[in-house]
């Protein structure tokens, strides 16, 4: 956990409205665990004021600029342009100064990844699942269900395939892959692999639907959540979600940035889970759906 004053290495549009940014990030290969995130400072001015949270897509090394220097360690994030911060981000180039606070958060519990694993992602919800897939002992027993509203929202398919993970693509409008919700695919896959563990990340309606399915089938589920964050380190208490057993009389709140962003579904309250980011409707949700 450190604050790096660093630079952008590259920044490319990988699908309309979706960008993949590589950032110089010493030590992240050693430190970052699947499911963790960074608080990213878009530029060194006071606008936007707060940092933006982004999941770590992957870490890696690239050749140094000069052969007497060590290779350059980087992370990659994938982001969708939805508002003021991401709008500025899409204009960043090689060399632009940015800041990276991280790696932050709990990450996925990897003790559970032997056996069958089903990863369910909607839109940019795929981001944290990639490092998870990388760390799964037997990729051939893992599969990833990739969903989105339309073909533009389907990202990282090739990347998962390269890991030897089976991919199932579906879109709501049928413009690529199966037509329909990714949760329909999940129900089908759970028929095949009833003992699989499920890992999900995506817009809240998808997460809710996945949770219902998993609960009804008695399947273990880990979810990665998004909440509005100010600090990212547990200091502001802005990013809480309701914990299991939460009631108005006996409220229970858990910090998404420290206890999460990955939670065991059984640790959360599902009946009346008001979701902060749900209120942020400016740019629609990450998978292109209107929440």
């Amino acid at each position: 956990m450190k604050n790096h004053k660093t630079i952008v290495l590259s920044n490319q549009e990988i699908s309309p409205g979706y960008f993949r940014m590589r950032i110089l990030a010493p030590d992240y290969s050693r430190l970052a665990k699947p499911g963790q995130f960074v608080m990213f400072r878009v530029q060194r001015s006071l606008l936007p004021l707060l940092r933006r949270p982004f999941g770590i897509f992957r870490t890696g090394f690239m050749p140094a600029d000069c052969d007497t220097m060590p290779p350059k360690e980087f992370i990659e994030i994938i982001y969708k342009v939805v508002g003021s911060g991401t709008e500025i981000m899409q204009g960043l180039h090689y060399g632009d100064p940015v800041e990276l606070l991280g790696p932050l958060g709990s990450g996925f519990d990897l003790n559970l990844t032997s056996g069958d694993n089903i990863l369910v992602g909607g839109g940019i919800g795929l981001v944290p699942l990639y490092m998870l897939a990388e760390s799964i002992a037997d990729p051939s027993r893992a599969e990833v269900l990739i969903g989105g509203r339309s073909r533009d929202d389907i990202i990282t398919v090739t990347e998962f395939e390269r890991l030897g993970v089976k991919t199932f693509v579906s879109t709501e409008d049928g413009s690529i892959g199966d037509a329909g919700l990714v949760t329909k695919v999940l129900e089908q896959r759970l028929e095949q692999k009833p003992k699989a563990r499920v890992f999900a990340c995506g817009p809240m309606p998808m997460i809710r639907a996945v949770e219902k399915i998993c609960r009804s089938k008695g399947v273990a589920l880990q979810v990665s959540l998004e909440e509005l964050m100010a600090c990212g380190v547990g200091a502001c208490l802005g990013c809480v979600v309701k914990g299991e057993g939460h009631t108005t009389e006996r409220p229970s709140y858990l910090c998404t940035c420290t206890v999460g962003p990955v939670f065991n579904a059984s640790d959360l309250a599902w009946d009346n889970h008001d979701h902060a980011s749900g209120a942020v409707s400016y740019g629609g949700c990450e998978c292109g759906e209107k929440r």
Partner: protein, 312 residues
Amino acid sequence: MKRKEKVIKNVNMQVEIAGITLRNPIMPASGTFGYGEEYAPYLDLNSLGAIVTKGLSLNPKAGNNTPRVCETVGGMLNAIGLQNVGIEQFIYQKMPFLEQFDTPVIVNFFGNTQDEYGEVAARLDELPGVAGLEMNISCPNVKHGGIIFGTDPQAAFAAVASVRKRTSKPLIVKLTPNVTDIQVTARAAEEAGADAISLINTLTGMAVDVKTRRPRLANTIGGLSGPAIRPIAVRLVHQVVQAVKIPVIGIGGISRAMDALEFLIVGAKAVQVGTANFVDPNAMATIITELENFCLEEGIDDINDLIGTLEV
């Protein structure tokens, strides 16, 4: 700029507030620095003037529904709802960590009633690890229909006086800016026995999501903080310095040494850094270094010589 002629090498950064000696005038603002441990990986807590905790109450408090925060131009709104672990858990779970450091710990606290304020103060009074108390009077006074203690000078006086009876530790009273005349509240706090005054707490504000037509905060109204509010904070500190004799701690939108200097020059003896910690976890360390450099450049060998030097 005759000041520049003097060439100096060391700057005394030490200031004293209500009997607490601070190695420098920079400390975090309550609620933006957790209980200290959250920022320990990023910042040497021994470099700070003091550590100020999240606001504590007698019993643990769960806080408000979400969303609790949202960004505005040059600032942010929060309606955390004073979520905290409560005084007992603080003592057993958080104090031991803080006691490792050689930095005064100031505990921010609040109550829903005058009695509750007193009880928390009495409990804190027993703790040798606590250097001072910061009393947040920006809470709704449940006995008086939710009117904020700090907006009613009489209620403020009564609450401070009753806390004063329960503790002999240095007592800092933290004022809300949402009043017509801050000097009245400041004098009430002074007369009731406060050793120092800190201000400002957040300004009440609100933002609307125009698509959903709902407030951006679950609580509808929240507190505005960050660089956007600095001019208002500087004005209020300026006014309070003129109204009271006890020392004043300036708060509001400080993110650089330049910002801290505005408050010191109008007469604050120390300052607190809030929202800027979220923007840059290292902000306070940078401010301390830059503050020292500024003094060196200006030929000031004691930061106390700078305090209250506004030329009007």
